[in-house]
Subunit: 447 residues, 2 copies
């Protein structure tokens, strides 16, 4: 189960002010539960863990089984933003650190690679170098089917699949709008199987919908355990209480932002597999809170590597930071440090110890050093890295985000600023309908 410890921040704040922010967070909790705040059309994620239909999971599993039977060994998952980061985060967290490089002997699931999340020509060309070597299927995720990045990638991958496989329409699954849009129309025409991106779940809250679950299941991981972990968390967070971990996290981070001049929250992990948990979390919090000129800037580091990189800044730079540390209490694997007769490296004092013990002491030592340096800490801990605990983490951060953004006083569920670059890009690319803006922008660029 996910636990939270905010003691590492308490010396930085006044207890009475914490009570104030706790009260605000408790109010935000009511708003979120009642669904009567800003953005209340987008609260479908709240009950996904406990209300995910068995049918949908079964259908994902049957696609997995069918593709395994066909010997498919590469699945290209096409999507951007929330249609990318959740699945990538889960698959990286649950995969072997060297999954990509290990020999294929004994691999029971296809490899998942991601596309449609950039406009790099090299990336697409090189993706196709890999595709031609493999037995390929594709999951394309787009509510409209016209978002530029995924649409460009899908044109290319679809053409390849159409030209190379007679069972082409069995090799493409679309996750899209329930009723309308380019991808929905195409899927009906081509006979693709489809899943629905629910209308009431925003991209960054969609990891527990088919958007995240189908790629995770196809990659060979246990989505049922993930939903179980999330459902336990849904239950654990359902009580209005000052002990509710989501309340505590939301209250403390808003207090640090409001009273202590903290402008940057650094998510700290000690396990390379969790690098994309940081990326997923940055989207969740940055996009939910970064609006109206407000919001904590989310950043992430992977220690201990980054103790030898960003560590200096965190210890002694501008005092605008606080840290949220992900503590994984147990390792899934075992390596102990062996005694060495010569002991030139002076490590024999650690002989017999687990490597993870050293990691834990690095984490604790860093905690104390950073607190001494003026950096408040919170700690979110899980038992180990597995589907169950990851599901709990996903739900914890989502629920806490709803409360936190509401405490801050912004709409947690919109992202009006994302349109600005798109509009300009369409105009500069000469998309029909953008002629006027195009002329204005070109004049600015040439001026």
């Amino acid at each position: 189960m996910v636990k939270i410890d905010i003691e590492g921040s308490s010396s930085f704040v006044k207890a009475a002010r914490y009570k104030d922010f706790e009260a605000k967070a408790l109010d935000a909790f009511d708003t979120l539960v009642a669904g009567n705040g800003a953005g209340n059309d987008f609260l479908g994620w709240k009950h996904l863990p406990s209300q995910t239909p068995e049918d949908m999971i079964l259908e994902c599993e049957s696609i997995r089984d069918e593709w395994n039977k066909k010997g498919i060994n590469l699945v290209v998952v096409i999507g951007i933003g929330g249609s990318y980061l959740g699945a990538r985060c889960a698959i990286e967290a649950l995969s072997h650190n060297f999954a990509k490089q290990l020999s294929s002997a004994g691999k029971s699931a296809p490899e998942v690679v991601f596309a449609g999340n950039n406009l790099s020509e090299e990336y697409l060309a090189e993706l196709m170098d890999l595709v031609v070597e493999r037995n390929v299927a594709c999951i394309v995720i787009s509510k409209s089917g016209t978002t530029t990045e995924p649409a460009v990638a899908f044109r290319i991958v679809k053409k390849y699949i159409d030209e190379h496989y007679e069972d082409n329409s069995d090799r493409i699954v679309a996750i899209t709008d329930a009723r309308k849009g380019a991808l929905k129309v195409l899927s009906a025409e081509q006979g693709y199987r489809t899943f629905v991106v629910p209308d009431d779940v925003g991209g960054r809250f969609s990891v527990l919908t088919p958007v995240g679950l189908l790629p995770i299941i196809v990659a060979g991981f246990d989505a049922r355990e993930m939903l179980k972990g999330a459902a336990e968390m849904e239950k654990a967070l359902s009580e209005k209480s000052s002990d509710n971990p989501a309340i505590r996290y939301a209250a403390m981070r808003n207090l640090l932002y409001s009273d202590c001049g903290k402008r940057v929250e650094v998510m700290v992990t000690y396990n390379p597999k969790l690098q994309y948990l940081g990326e997923w979390w940055k989207q969740l919090y940055g996009e939910s809170e970064g609006k109206d000129g407000k919001g904590i800037f989310p950043a992430s580091v992977t220690n201990t590597a980054d103790l030898h990189s960003m560590g200096q800044y965190i210890q002694e730079g501008e005092r605008i930071l606080f840290e949220t540390v992900i503590n994984v209490r147990h390792s899934n694997r075992s390596v102990t440090i062996e005694k060495d007769e010569q002991n030139l490296d002076q490590l024999n004092y650690l002989a017999g110890k687990h490597v993870e013990h050293c990691g834990a002491m690095a984490r604790l030592g860093t905690k104390l050093a950073h607190i001494d340096g003026g950096v408040p800490q919170m700690e979110v801990s899980i038992e180990k890295i597995d589907a169950f605990n990851l599901g709990g983490l996903f739900y914890f951060f989502e629920f806490a985000c709803g409360i936190s953004a509401c405490t801050l006083g912004v709409n947690p569920f919109n992202q009006p600023g994302v349109e600005a670059y798109k509009k300009n890009m369409f105009a500069l690319l000469g998309k029909p309908g953008y002629e006027e803006l195009s002329a204005t922008l070109k004049a600015r660029l040439n001026g």
Copy 2:
């Protein structure tokens, strides 16, 4: 050649104040060139590009050739911080996006994997899963030979190599101190080939020493071209002038920090291969400037993926940000968007266009949107991603960092804050000599 454009920031600052900061940066230039500022014992990196001895490169190349002859297909590079990020950045930038997954047919160089940069038990266990499948060599990088993370990994990898190969000492190369330290002693005893970590080059400035060059060469890339690009940049930056790109970058970023309340600099790339350029740059600037309670917090994003993640915050969140965009002017590969009769995805207006053209318009559109949103921009552009241009980028950012930190008024070349966590970690791990601190810390943790 690397170019810089600071026009995207000019509307945010007063011209007279820019002149003030330009003057400060020109003074800092003199200090850096004369070598009479703080940290002047660590200026060896300044002339590496033009003064790298041919012998050293030849020795690296002969190791590469010898290992290729042995059929070595995995090189474990053990190092942390500056002994990790430079090589990783270069190898990721220059490798195929899917190098790890492509079939081995035709691969002319061994794969490089990194270790010793974390204390994750799973990572080490899983590294050994890969090692046992391969024909392995190791490059171990540590000035002292006793830094915990690399020492723990090296004990494990060394033991494996010793037990499995008769030519074990030919398969390990050490990059370490010229005269003293555990790794130097061990290398002499075991007959390892060694390279020197120069005394006057700090870790984060060491990518053009053997620390970076040997892994890059062994991975099959052209270090001579990289040094050539760096040497051209060394020459281009040698002139004291207000047009010097390093002066302009240093002046503008310090002005944005000093006068405009900008606290976070976001390095923006549009090519997934450059993700670790961001990591390398964050260490370089964060560790050089983040001290004495000062410094710009360095962050990085990979667009267009992150336009659908951090994009919202950058567009509309706290106005404490500015961006430095890496613009790669040409792609190494070619993919055009083809016409589709149906055009359901509405992309036909792009038919015949290169994907990179869309990327460029996304970049320009984003630039204008972010400037309109209150985010100043600078742009650093290179011709394409290759060894030559990467060498230029490395040197540009190093030289500009020396000037910028000096303009800020801190010692660019020390990192006193990195010791704080180490001391605590040693105490908590029970290292001999730390008994007193250990008791204090344990009392704090239990209190």
